[in-house]
Assembly symmetry: C2
């Protein structure tokens, strides 16, 4: 007697999570060093040393009730001010704590934002390829997903189709850059054009359309690539951030939402996000990790580690004849499946203990995602396996 909505989900479950469990089982069977698990975005780089230093400092020097007790649903005031200040110095913005809501990671933040704005039957637009969990987040609040087909040459959003698919039921749009699964950074030009289209459509339909930007990979950009600050290009933007990747803290569930003061119905939106945080059962982001962020706001993970993986993997795979999108950010590589049905390809790869995620999980069949947030040894040792795979497929 579980919920009917859940029945399908339990059967399908998350392909990525199922692979994570399968990877653990394979590691137990074959030895961890012989399994090349590229399935999950679980950073292999340790958290910067400032994180653990901050934890110890906080535990030793903070009153227990302050440290472990309740605070406002939006989070510790001083931490929110620190985050606002950090954004201001990076992006020339003018935020303060009233613009920041601490969240249980970006996943928690996206659920809070969608809860705050969606009505039954509202449409939410996403650009393929996109993180498949958005489907569930939107469905949680009875929204309808509208998918824009991918531009498989650039993996920039297809703005022509976007413009056509906005209707008077469009409540929001979700973007994610640097992108999971492609590693592509949405360009300033793309975001400018997107903002213009949204402004025009807001006028046309006489309603607000929020742009939710999911940015857990914002700090992971290579070769000096710049990740544009999305609210610069559209007023009604809500930023969802997470420290899962930038500080290697995915299990700790800590992130924030930015709601700029210029956004329509700013005060209601902030209140709704606070209430949503409470009633969805988060109540608040974990207190100790909030305080840690207050001390580590400008700490950074060692992205040279991912960069080396990126180059090694990209060079290795392209030499073997695989066709890959070179990632500009994040820690995923999107590769064209040499077999038409990429799920079949994923199964063939599994014979070589290579765990990849099918692109259909990201509404982009015909491709696979390779998460290279793994050890360098895993990358290096996987290449002979990819070579065998290439041979089997006659590349």
């Amino acid at each position: 007697m579980i919920s009917r909505k859940m029945e399908g989900l339990v059967k399908g479950s998350s392909v990525i999570r199922a692979m994570f469990e399968e990877g653990k089982q394979m590691a137990a069977k074959y030895g961890a060093e012989n399994v090349f698990d590229f399935s999950l975005g679980n950073p292999n780089v340790p958290a910067p040393k400032e994180v653990n230093e901050a934890i110890i400092d906080i535990v030793n020097n903070t009153d227990s009730v302050k440290l472990h007790g309740y605070m406002s649903n939006a989070g510790h005031d001083e931490v929110r001010d620190i985050i606002a200040g950090s954004l201001n110095s990076k992006y020339g913005t003018h935020y303060d704590k009233s613009n920041i809501i601490m969240t249980v990671g970006a996943a928690g933040g996206l659920n809070v934002a969608l809860k705050a704005i969606l009505n039954l039957g509202d449409e939410v637009i996403a650009f393929a390829p996109y993180f498949g969990e958005y489907n569930n987040y939107v469905s949680n609040f009875d929204g309808e997903m509208v998918v824009i087909t991918p531009d498989i040459n650039t993996f920039q959003p297809n703005l022509t189709e976007f413009e056509q698919k906005i209707t008077n039921k469009t409540a929001c749009v979700i973007v994610n850059s640097p992108n999971n699964p492609t590693g592509v950074i949405y360009s300033k030009e793309t975001l400018e054009k997107m903002g213009e289209i949204l402004e025009a459509k807001q006028k046309e339909f006489g309603r607000t359309i929020y742009l939710i930007t999911d940015e857990p990979y914002r700090e992971l950009a290579y070769d000096g690539a710049v990740v544009p600050w999305v609210p610069d290009h559209y007023r009604n933007t809500i930023v969802g951030y997470s420290y899962s990747k930038s500080l290697s803290l995915p299990g700790e569930r800590i992130g924030y939402l930015v709601i700029p003061s210029e956004a329509d119905d700013f005060e209601d939106l902030v209140s709704a996000a606070g209430v949503a945080t409470r009633i969805l059962g988060f109540v608040n982001a974990p207190s100790i990790m909030q305080l840690v962020i207050g001390k580590c706001v400008d700490a950074a993970t060692d992205i040279s580690y991912y960069d080396r993986n990126r180059n090694t993997l990209y060079d290795g795979l392209t030499k073997l004849g695989f066709k890959c999108q070179k990632p500009e950010g994040a820690f995923y590589l999107f590769m064209k499946s040499p077999v038409e049905d990429e799920k079949e390809f994923v199964n063939i790869a599994k014979k070589y203990n290579l765990l990849l995620v099918p692109g259909s999980t990201f509404a982009c069949p015909g491709f696979v995602r390779i998460a290279y947030c793994v050890s360098y040894e895993t990358v290096v040792n996987s290449l002979p396996k990819f070579a065998e795979l290439a041979r089997e497929l006659g590349l």
Copy 2:
């Protein structure tokens, strides 16, 4: 353009949370020592020293990826086994990790459980007085709340009305003992009878009815009172637990669900709870706090502190002529309002800097809740203010 469902909530917001914010403002204005804020269940007793010792030990001795990384959505395997073992030794049960799902507090756990089982229009029964947030949790998943009127003599559930109000749409029942806001412990006889009624109704309607027991106060029982283990009295019980109160960690958001193997559709239910944890955006309970619980599973807060507050407050208030339900557990005292409209009484009390919560928040008008998880000084110094209040009201 916020969600219509949220508009009402933002306006109403949580009376309790609004008071929390108001209390902070009053403390800033009058000085914290002159405001008697009995509004929020935010424990004043520090976390047991084992908690901070465990944090430091874990930070110093755990690999960063294990410590801060993703794990299964249900939580760290070994922590779930430790919790199962602790429950087994306390209650003679036979749980293992498969029965335990780590959650973001009890609020997170209840949302996960309700997401897992509710369909549109399903009925959920609660016994007044009850924690008003249940209304929102149930509404999150399109359930309909069915309220059983309180027995204001004993504050045990009214089982006659309960039996009458179960229908073929009843999907679950929520109980909470020791109870917020009354401090009453539901007796073994009550739970036995409740279990019998539910078994009979399951047969009558040919459906499963889950009993969700919300137990953040399970460890807070006074005068040697025993809190019965609810699954002993009904097979289809789901236990929601939180360390917020028992270890004074409300801001850390750590708790668990117990799903006994005897429950109907056990495997589907466990899978659904895991998926719900993921897609609601929790993903997993905060990793570091899970590991802390693994080391502190049998640590305990100093309940003698609350017990002293309880006796001092109960004795003081009854001497002043207020009519109170003597709490057997938790850290709330439920007091009859001397004014018919208890909201009016709450406003009068505010003149004396006494912050109380109206019973209508708990579907039980005519009473007020006093949260005595405050400093002993607050309790002692509040009594002269209550005396002035009693005088004004001619008690």
